[in-house]
Symmetry: C2
Subunit: 298 residues, 2 copies
């Protein structure tokens, strides 16, 4: 399906560099762009706002909160009411409602409000997660996503991945998700080492998704086999790297997980400057600079 | 000297993102920008060109070769004559003449010409090198640059680094430089593993320097001590990571080598999302996307 790994990266990191020409308008808070809204969201947003007794948004060439929406709680509340309304109206992109709140970071590096995870692509909000590369010797543990998952059912995935709940550290999130998704005890999960980030800006049927994944490497002991627990995963395989490469090029992976695995292969000397023609373009695109605020507190 | 590692990165990756407003004009070849020229170079270039019997350059809002300069050899020759003239005129930035030819890559990923290494900043040409992180256990080998080096004398440096000569692979370059700079035999140097790139766009007294360093990790056996050989290095130290961090923040390192070491600390879980507030900004800026062509052949 793909001729090379640069195509795999571009298939996920697909939002244009430079001018997008997609008619999107920025959402601005305290002088910083915190998201972008496509025309198919901006128009319903204008309708919604016009019909509010006390409109919460100021919509011009950009979108802002009205001055009265001046706190974490008020921003959270007006966005919740908007999304609840759109969900009740049956908006397609909100069918995958998660009941999970994601922080929206502002200039301070602290969250300026929180919003439903499934709604973040409607506002093009930058989101953050952890992805774990589990390996045994020179083989990689690969998960097969459950066929009943809302998103990307049946595709290959990293051994463990998850969003970072409000006020969890990345390391705590890894340990929690290792247990929930793969029955990996904390005695093993605690050895996971943060090895950087993978960042990209993708576009899906749900909207705009600038994303940053904290990547962790986790050595899995030879005598341990991860097993599904919470139903997110159907099966785990221990793949040699040739099979990993083949399945990635064959488009069998969830797109962003393929990027995390390509980053793993770069950091571990499997893809190198001497064997991968697009090495520089691949490595720089795996670390796209996103202009949105991000978490700055530790 | 620096409050944090993001400042260290920004001290090297200092060319503006977005519009530069420095009066620079692009050098264009086959429709791609291959470099940039600052006003203090453009003006002497116009003078030089006007005084040529057969001017080699076409200088407008951009700089191109004249149509008659239509081959690798001709481009190489006209740039050589220009730089020889400027060197004979005593141009300050060419005092550090190296007698070393660097490839200038074009749209094909093959070199479109070669030019003197010391002259590349005058044209803002993208250059490529290898940097090696030598480590023993959890300590890092650090070089002290010779006090007689033309550039950055006496500062701290990676154990081994060097430019990639025309038609050498990165791995061959590592083995050659390991021998020349640190007396590391190929039996050890051959274990160096490519672990990605560090890319940045710096500005120095010499001009504009968009650079990409292929980074390698090299485990050094406990019973081996690197020793200087070609006079580039005065001493090697085995530093614990606290001392590495301290000396970086204290501005004791050659700027780009500090970036390679920060990347090492990120990949090895020493700087993490949980202990480094600027983690995302640091990691993305260590992999700046440069718009210039780069080597695409393997």
């Amino acid at each position: 399906m793909f001729d090379n790994f640069l195509q795999v990266v571009a298939h996920c990191d697909k939002y244009p560099y430079g001018t997008a020409n997609d008619g999107s308008v920025p959402i601005v808070l305290n002088g910083r762009v915190i998201g972008n809204v496509l025309p198919n969201v901006r128009n319903p947003l204008i309708d919604y706002n016009d019909n509010c007794q006390k409109p919460p948004f100021r919509i011009t060439h950009q979108i802002e909160f009205q001055p009265w929406v001046d706190s974490f709680d008020k921003r959270t509340q007006v966005v919740k009411e908007l999304m609840d309304t759109w969900r009740a109206d049956g908006m397609q992109s909100l069918k995958g409602w998660r009941n999970e709140l994601y922080p929206v970071y502002g200039v301070s590096g602290e969250p300026d409000f929180v919003m439903e995870r499934a709604a973040t692509p409607l506002f093009g909000i930058s989101t953050f997660g952890v992805h774990v590369n589990g390996y045994t010797g020179d083989k990689l543990w690969v998960a097969r996503r459950s066929k009943s998952k809302q998103t990307w059912p049946g595709l290959l995935d990293n051994i463990v991945a998850g969003g970072i709940s409000y006020q969890y550290s990345t390391q705590e999130t890894v340990v929690k998700e290792c247990d929930e998704e793969a029955s990996i005890p904390s005695s093993i999960a605690g050895r996971a080492k943060n090895a950087g980030i993978v960042s990209y800006y993708t576009v899906t049927e749900f909207g705009l998704q600038p994303e940053t994944q904290y990547v962790f490497d986790l050595p899995i002991p030879e005598d341990f086999t991860p097993t599904p627990k919470d139903g997110e995963v159907d099966e785990f395989y221990l793949m040699d790297m040739e099979e990993v490469k083949k399945t990635i090029l064959n488009n069998e992976w969830k797109p962003n997980c393929a990027l995390v695995t390509i980053d793993f292969m770069v950091r571990h000397g499997i893809l190198t400057a001497d064997n991968e023609p697009d090495f520089i373009d691949i490595v720089s695109r795996l670390h796209r600079r996103l202009e949105f605020p991000n978490p700055r507190k530790v």
